[in-house]
């Protein structure tokens, strides 16, 4: 009966993207520099002395995992700051009193955060081309995977932003959970190189499925079947959506 408030989605999205473009240098430079360092050190310098991994040059092998590392942390931190900042300033009152529903708020904030992470991801990919000999077997699948990852981690970031009571907590999950999981999920190695016990343990790491799937779109080789990777990311997205639905229904940490 009530029409969706498209103007509100547009306003939130543009406002959040405005923040990104206002600080474009910091937004882009830091992730690009750190990714370039990885490419130079592990790809160009050390990579030349490392054997191929599953028939792929080591420098190229690590590219998908490093892009994942960047976009997951970017999407999470962008989305968490996007909703945490108005909460911290007090300007969240406006969003709560506006004629918008939870869905529209989430599309606006999460959409903008995912877009930013996606742009950063593409720039890292372009940077990789500068240092490493690379070809992408399935570009459409690659783009789709990138988009899904950006969106689902922006959803996670949105939850963290609502949960966090201070700036320290905001950094907690990305630093303590996401980064280690990406590192241990096979960014720098194929999990088939691990002893059986650790291989089994890696299957509990959700990042493993993302990295494996993303790597498949580059090289058509994966540690786990591609369908399983897609399933894993779908499950993760659904969990995040359910948590957000619960947050808005109960008003948890948003409304008194």
């Amino acid at each position: 009966m009530s029409r969706p408030n498209l103007q509100a989605i547009r306003a939130i999205y543009l406002y959040e993207m405005g923040r990104f473009f206002r600080t474009i240098l910091q937004s882009m430079l830091a992730p690009v520099i750190s990714a370039s360092l990885y490419f130079v050190v592990f790809g160009a310098a050390i990579g030349g002395r490392i054997d191929q991994v599953e028939g792929i040059a080591y420098g190229a092998f690590i590219v998908p995992g490093l892009i994942m590392l960047t976009v997951t942390t970017q999407a999470t931190s962008n989305a968490s700051i996007g909703i945490f900042f108005p909460k911290f300033l007090g300007s969240i009152y406006e969003v709560l009193s506006a004629p918008v529903n939870a869905f529209e708020i989430v599309i606006g904030y999460v959409g903008a955060a995912a877009t930013k992470a996606f742009i950063v991801g593409l720039i890292i990919l372009a940077t990789a081309y500068l240092f490493i000999d690379l070809s992408i077997a399935r570009p459409f699948a690659m783009i789709l995977f990138l988009l899904l990852t950006c969106t689902s981690f922006a959803l996670l970031g949105f939850i963290i932003g609502i949960w966090a009571a201070n700036f320290e907590q905001l950094q907690l999950i990305p630093l303590l959970v996401i980064t280690p999981l990406v590192f241990l999920g096979g960014t720098f190695y194929s999990t088939t190189m691990l002893p059986p016990f650790w291989q089994g343990l890696t299957l509990l790491n959700p990042m493993h499925y993302l990295i494996s799937g993303f790597r498949w779109s580059f090289f058509e080789q994966a540690d786990v079947p591609i369908a399983l990777s897609l399933f894993a990311i779908a499950v993760f997205t659904v969990i995040c959506l359910a948590a957000i639905w619960w947050i808005f229904r109960t008003g948890w940490r948003l409304r008194s």
């Binding site: 007090g90 009152y93 009193s97 004629p99 008194s256």
Partner: protein, 308 residues
């Protein structure tokens, strides 16, 4: 006059058991300025927050322009603009962008001409592209008002608009409010200063401990507020009010040393002069004199007493 906001049996209880609103009924008429007057913690902000959708009610209903704030929240909220007590602006954002965001959020398509007019009306045109952090306190407050007005609301809530504001800015705020009323906007403001409510409001609703104690036309309430008492302390105690002073409505204090005279402080003839002359003529030596004006607090006490 039709009521643009109808509050019925509104209750708000916190998990701790504290009841911030205890069954509030209130009708706000279209086009009026109504002041919610009450001490700190009376429930003014809770009432506003609940009507605007920031805080949830435990029971009761509210409709805005005939739209229920829960079942038809989009239509209800689109009619409302809110200026909260605290200033909360993103420091690095420009004024124009801040106001554009608010307009979009409330479902209105971009309209630069309208935003320009709004900023001009609030004397913010020159600062249009300045960042929020570069503004003075008064300007920040005006930006908050511009945000609330950006989507052309029919109802404007101003929560303690002059708390911590200097005299000049206060006058400026009242000019803005009066201008809005001329445009037909209904204005609800909260305050704990009776003078403030008197200066601007058509009606005053007195709220205390989560209950509306009364809603009255400002003039009627002020007449009640105007009660003054004159107490004359005598050098020697009396047993009774002397016969020669019986024309004046005097009461004698229990210790017999004070004569108390109640009068309307706003009346043209208060009778104070005649009383003093008669006391002198009666030869009563006066030790001291003091006057008291009935305060908002006394009205509260009086109202609470009436209830019991």
């Amino acid at each position: 006059m039709t009521s643009i906001i109808a509050v019925r049996g509104l209750r708000k209880a916190y998990d701790s058991g504290f009841e911030a609103l205890k069954g509030v009924d209130l009708d706000i008429e279209e086009g009026e300025i109504i002041a919610l007057l009450g001490p700190n913690g009376a429930g003014k902000t809770t009432l506003i927050s609940t009507i605007c959708g920031i805080s949830r009610s435990t029971a009761g209903s509210v409709s805005v322009g005939g739209h229920d704030i829960q079942s038809d929240y989009r239509a209800a909220r689109a009619m409302i603009g809110l200026v909260p007590q605290e200033i909360s602006l993103e420091p690095f954002e420009t004024i124009a962008n801040t106001v554009r965001f608010s307009r979009g959020l409330f479902g209105r398509p971009p309209d630069e001409a309208r935003i320009d007019r709004l900023l001009a009306a609030l004397s913010l045109s020159e600062k249009k592209n300045a960042r929020n952090r570069e503004l003075s306190g008064g300007m920040k407050r005006r930006v908050m008002i511009a945000k609330a007005l950006s989507h052309e609301p029919r109802v404007l809530f101003l929560d303690e608009p002059t708390a911590g504001v200097d005299v000049e800015l206060r006058r400026e705020m009242w000019d803005v409010v009066k201008e809005l009323r001329r445009d037909g906007v209904t204005i609800i403001l909260t305050t704990h200063y009776i003078e403030e409510a008197e200066a601007i409001a058509d009606r005053i609703a007195v709220i205390n401990r989560g209950e509306i104690l009364l809603v009255e036309k400002t003039g009627d309430l002020m007449a009640r507020m105007g009660r003054k008492e004159l107490e004359i302390m005598l050098e020697a105690p009396l047993d009774a009010v002397p016969e020669s002073l019986s024309a004046h409505a005097l009461t004698l204090s229990p210790d017999g040393r004070g004569l108390v005279y109640g009068y309307d402080g706003r009346a043209q003839s208060t009778g104070v002069g005649a009383l003093m002359a008669d006391i002198q003529a009666a030869g009563l030596p006066i030790a001291d004199i003091r006057t008291r004006q009935s305060s908002l607090e006394e009205i509260f006490v009086g109202l609470v007493k009436d209830e019991n």
